[in-house]
Subunit: 394 residues, 2 copies
């Protein structure tokens, strides 16, 4: 078991009507002049923009609105946000949306306190020492950014999607009302569930396999997500099932499910190149890659894949042939993805195969010209990345 | 599912050698002049006092030592601590020990910022708005105080044991090195494991039973503790098993296992009277009472006891007779307690039966003269408390 730090200072306020507490929370964490940052339709459709601006008006909070965040959030909007905040003396950023909006808000928060170009942080050229505070009203359970140390931004100049991890900009609070997810389309719901499970799978498939408590919590979370997504697809207004997904999105990525274990996160890195180049939905990209990653790496620790197959995928243990059981677990996950209409290959994701040149370009970017490895369950070099992309391209 | 707030700002630094980071952590959270608060033998036996004072000397931190905390920590020492801190301009309290030392430290932290008598807080006569910061080096996994909002103090003047819950004095950091628990005696280890499981059972037996994710995490935690305690009793230096108990102690009481559910905590309240009057070990007191509480309340929701029996106690589900399955779960817990040498009745705990007068006095104190109820799975009035004490007195 490796040593670990567990730090989740975000105040989660969960349940019906909790958005009513937003102004109070903003004030509690020092906000007086707020950038309300959001995507587009959903914040408006849910009536959240009206509700929050009225609440702020009534409680004497100043605010400036900035919408337009898109999935795979863009650096250009982050920079625009930084300029607007500077011009308006903003001291708090409120994200209303999912992971893209929260990540865009975190990046603005970083940028306001960082002297150089904020992209430096994502490009390993700088470190954030402080940031402006960020709070969130979550409307899409998926990325877990509301409680995680993660922030992922896409630089359109070169189709680069890069993450920056730091405790400096963890959300001060996260307001989570599962009712806000009732209108999420099937596709986004399924992408979210895939991303949630994957955040835990990226920790579960680790070289460290002796942390039973973390394992058992991780398996419990993955089973709950697996079951709840079907409840939600059957009845999108099932509050209880929506709540499981929403709370799981936070716990899957606040590091609870990785305590005492080295992270892998290779599938995430491989997917980032895919969504940076083709602007696909992150969850769908993960589903399209994971089965190929799994088949490529499973021999590094068959027992771990057997444990996953039995405890998460619900496969019977064939004690005589662990490899067979492990493979059945991967196949069960493929059936799960198909059942929630997620792709399990790149052609299913993009509607076409990748060319050899595209695969090389993605592997080159992912490995930064064969200088960077990813993963810990199996440490992937550029050549391994090429093989996994090829496997997923069939 | 009820709305909930989840707030666990404590920075946990877990693993071998993590005590080396103590001075750095104290400074990070604003400490310059520290009260080092501890119990007696263990902090010295472990060499922790020497290690930490040397570290503080080397890193320019001032400190004052205050030992002598006992189990069921006393109000008199808390008041002495407050005086010492005031006289020495202390700005940070470092607890080295288990729940008693951490609670004593929290109470000192409260007292330093509270204008009246600190006992007011525990007597429902005052509210803490701020407190001096507290950090902990945990040496006994049990109470979970290192991550919880709880603080329990015994007022010798009247044998009153009372708790105060507030986010104001959550530990800033918790240093947890499982090696520090290698020398814990069997009895304390078993008491600790009982307390850890009970912190989750007090949340699990709730009128709210629709939060699957919380349930599955709670069950995973209880099973892990149940198994790990035997590993530890077999080999006290089993780092991995000690680590499970230590991390479980924090997660069992930081509210993770109660999100979306009303707490019960009646067994804790009933036990507080027992340990206040007879100064027994809290964990042993809980084991002596829980089976009687369980039998008394199980009919409020047999299905919940069946779920516990099957998913935690490892009992086969007798679908034809839920009551039988529920009872078998309680009996399995009694066998578990016996196996780790915990009492399952009051006579086993005290070596004698309670008199009728003693039972009445305890129930009277617990219900504050029949004016206060406890529990939510079943709301207990004074007459119920008497019945449960009587059941446990056989």
């Amino acid at each position: 078991m490796i040593n670990f730090t567990y730090y989740t200072p975000t105040e989660v306020v969960f349940g019906k009507g909790t958005e009513e507490k937003t102004a109070e929370l903003v004030k509690k964490y020092g906000g007086t002049n707020v950038l309300i940052h959001y995507g587009g339709k959903s914040a408006q459709k849910l009536g959240l923009l009206d509700k929050i601006t009225k609440q702020f008006d009534n409680q004497g909070l100043k605010y400036t609105l900035l919408g337009g965040v898109v999935p795979n959030p863009r650096l250009s909007l982050v920079k625009k946000g930084i300029e607007i905040c500077k011009a308006n003396s903003i001291d708090f950023i409120l994200a209303i949306g999912g992971g893209s909006v929260i990540d865009s808000s975190k990046a603005i928060g970083y940028g306001l306190d960082y002297e150089g170009d904020v992209w430096d942080l994502f490009d390993n050229k700088g470190v954030a020492k402080t940031s402006k505070p960020v709070g969130a009203i979550l409307t899409i359970p998926a990325a877990g950014s509301e409680m995680s140390d993660s922030c992922v931004i896409t630089n359109e100049n070169g189709d680069l999607k890069r993450g920056y991890n730091s405790n400096v900009c963890r959300c001060k609070f996260a307001v989570m009302n599962p009712e806000f997810t009732f209108t999420l389309p099937e596709f986004q719901t399924a992408c979210g569930a895939t991303d949630i499970m994957m955040h835990t799978m990226e920790r579960y498939f680790s070289p460290d396999t002796d942390m039973k408590l973390t394992d058992s919590i991780a398996e419990a979370l993955m089973r709950t997500v697996r079951d709840s997504v079907f409840d939600v697809l059957k009845d999108p207004k099932d509050y209880n099932a929506r709540a499981q997904l929403m709370w799981a999105s936070s716990l899957a990525h606040n590091d609870l499910t990785g305590c005492g274990m080295k992270r892998d996160f290779a599938t995430h890195r491989l997917e980032h190149e895919l969504s940076a180049m083709f602007d696909v939905a992150h969850g769908a990209g993960l589903a399209a890659l994971w089965p190929s990653w799994a088949r490529y790496v499973m021999n590094c620790n068959i027992a771990r894949f057997v444990q996953f197959a039995v405890n998460v995928a619900g496969v019977e243990n064939n004690f005589a042939d662990p490899e067979k059981t492990a493979l059945k677990g991967i196949e069960a996950m493929e059936r799960f993805y198909k059942a929630i209409k997620m792709p399990t290959t790149i052609p299913e994701l993009l509607g076409r195969k990748l060319s050899e040149e595209e695969i090389l370009e993605m592997a080159d970017k992912c490995s930064r010209g064969d200088t960077l490895t990813h993963g810990s369950f199996k440490v992937l070099k550029m050549k391994d990345m090429i093989e996994i992309y090829k496997l997923a391209n069939k």
